[in-house]
Chain length 327, copies 2
Amino acid sequence: MSERIAVIEGDGIGQEVIPAAIDVLESLDLDFEFVEGEAGDAVKEATGEALPQSTYDLAADADATLFGAAGETAADVILPLRDAVDSFVNIRPAKAYPGVDAVRPETDLVFLRENTEGVYSGHEDDLSDDLSTLTRVVTTSASEKLAHFACDYVEDSDDHDDFSVVHKANVMRKTDGRFRDAVVGVAEEQGVDTDEVLMDAFATHVCLDPEQFDVIVCPNLAGDVLSDLAAGLVGGLGLLPSANIGDDNALFEPVHGTAPDIAGQGIANPTATILSAALMLDHLGYTEEADRVETAVESVLAEGPRTGDLGGDADTDEVTAAIVDRL
Amino acid sequence: MSERIAVIEGDGIGQEVIPAAIDVLESLDLDFEFVEGEAGDAVKEATGEALPQSTYDLAADADATLFGAAGETAADVILPLRDAVDSFVNIRPAKAYPGVDAVRPETDLVFLRENTEGVYSGHEDDLSDDLSTLTRVVTTSASEKLAHFACDYVEDSDDHDDFSVVHKANVMRKTDGRFRDAVVGVAEEQGVDTDEVLMDAFATHVCLDPEQFDVIVCPNLAGDVLSDLAAGLVGGLGLLPSANIGDDNALFEPVHGTAPDIAGQGIANPTATILSAALMLDHLGYTEEADRVETAVESVLAEGPRTGDLGGDADTDEVTAAIVDRL
Ligand SMILES: CC(C)[C@H](C(=O)O)[C@@H](O)C(=O)O
Ligand SMILES: CC(C)[C@H](C(=O)O)[C@@H](O)C(=O)O
């Protein structure tokens, strides 16, 4: 069965790392059809819209989408795209690979971030010249949906047994209280062990001792900030892939942005995007291929060639070729 | 002129580290009158109230308050106490001291955290069986007040010239947009340089290279989480003091909690509380004494004795005596 993959490069190094990931995917000789869509700053400049309806539809109708990065318009692109694929969870693995100079080389975490609500609800008002409000939304249904996913995730995996619920329910008593109760309730039903950590305490303890954590289930903004913190611990955003999973669709993207300082030079690190492609393969059922890609990436990270952000001097093409070579 | 200092030990190691800080303050022979108030889990158990009105009034009427920690009731104690002293900014220095095993020994940051609003507004509702909301509040007035404080803070200091505004205005456009515009606007008026960093990007970059940051001005929850992250980078919460500053009053507290695992053994690290006392001295105009305390603490951190959390085997009294000795 042919899979229809929407490909959205976006701006900056998105235009360099997505072609690299496509090279890797094409070398696997699977029955993939790649269809391109446009989004980002340049499209906004040209058309007035950062995410044209046609690109939204492309992602909504595809079997999966691979997205690069967008510049100033990032939020206008990625938030609607997550919605286009009806994504309820953002999976963000943060693993320190051998050969990469990491602040905390023992880090090996997976964030399961609620992907639809919290402060991302989009309800804001200017109530006076002095005052604005934002309505933070938490539902039991979205929290339970995330929790079921998290339970299945750890049950289906050889590497994980339980998860930590990270929240700030001591301050956000009703909203994060609801989140916590829903997630812990589902986990109890499914017989999955959990522990609870306050969001601020997590930030301290993950620096001091990342090995005490494994899978982290958390609200939207907590997942955003804490997974970026983990990115710092493993040596930078250049390595972190992510998956936005919906019931019938999904979108895969590197956690990094457009890197305007190096864009256009062909020297961007394609690792995060190639690992995102591996998450896509896994999601589409090509588990063996996904493993092969991850293993090839790991071996190149360990032995080189490496891009500048990792202390090497290889360009994007050389790193990509080395990965393809090892597949 | 005699200063009236409210002293609230609270629970757990609060009852060990506050007496240590009082020892240090008493050894300075200043004209301080210490008046004790109760708060925390034990008081709640006994009276039904975590923060009795009498303790609230004590803090409100004192020249300054020194607070230890509270257990399960932490939020019920500290949030009203911050209100009792009309605190609009929470100052949180996070500095790696020589002799302390830090994840990032170059870390030397000061967080200026908005202390009254954001998700701490306290407006939450259960709107249905499925749905809760929280109203996140941002005002120009509170943001400008913080900004004026921040500008004065860097202008009055030899160590700081500018500050970073950390926010998530790409998602919270009206609320954090208002915060950013207000803070940057005041800084421009006062001629203080600023740069802007998104909250998630800050979390990555402070791990990778803490030296690129100095003073950080941010909303309430961002300050909570990011300063705790910085605590992780400098080697733990045992070292971090904080000051809640109001126009006519202030409250000083270690960033750490009650540490139930070691409470009652007399082995808690008193450093964070003694440094909080130093911030109090500085605030009350005893700058020379504040410097002496900080210097004594630094020298004990460098040379020992050290408590267990820092790899030593000294108890609270020995560390306190060593600090008093060096004053
Ligand atoms: C660009 C921004 C809206 C986005 C987010 O906050 O989710 C980004 O930080 C991310 O984590 O993918
Ligand atoms: C106890 C809690 C309410 C408090 C906060 O979130 O402000 C604490 O984490 C702190 O930072 O002092």
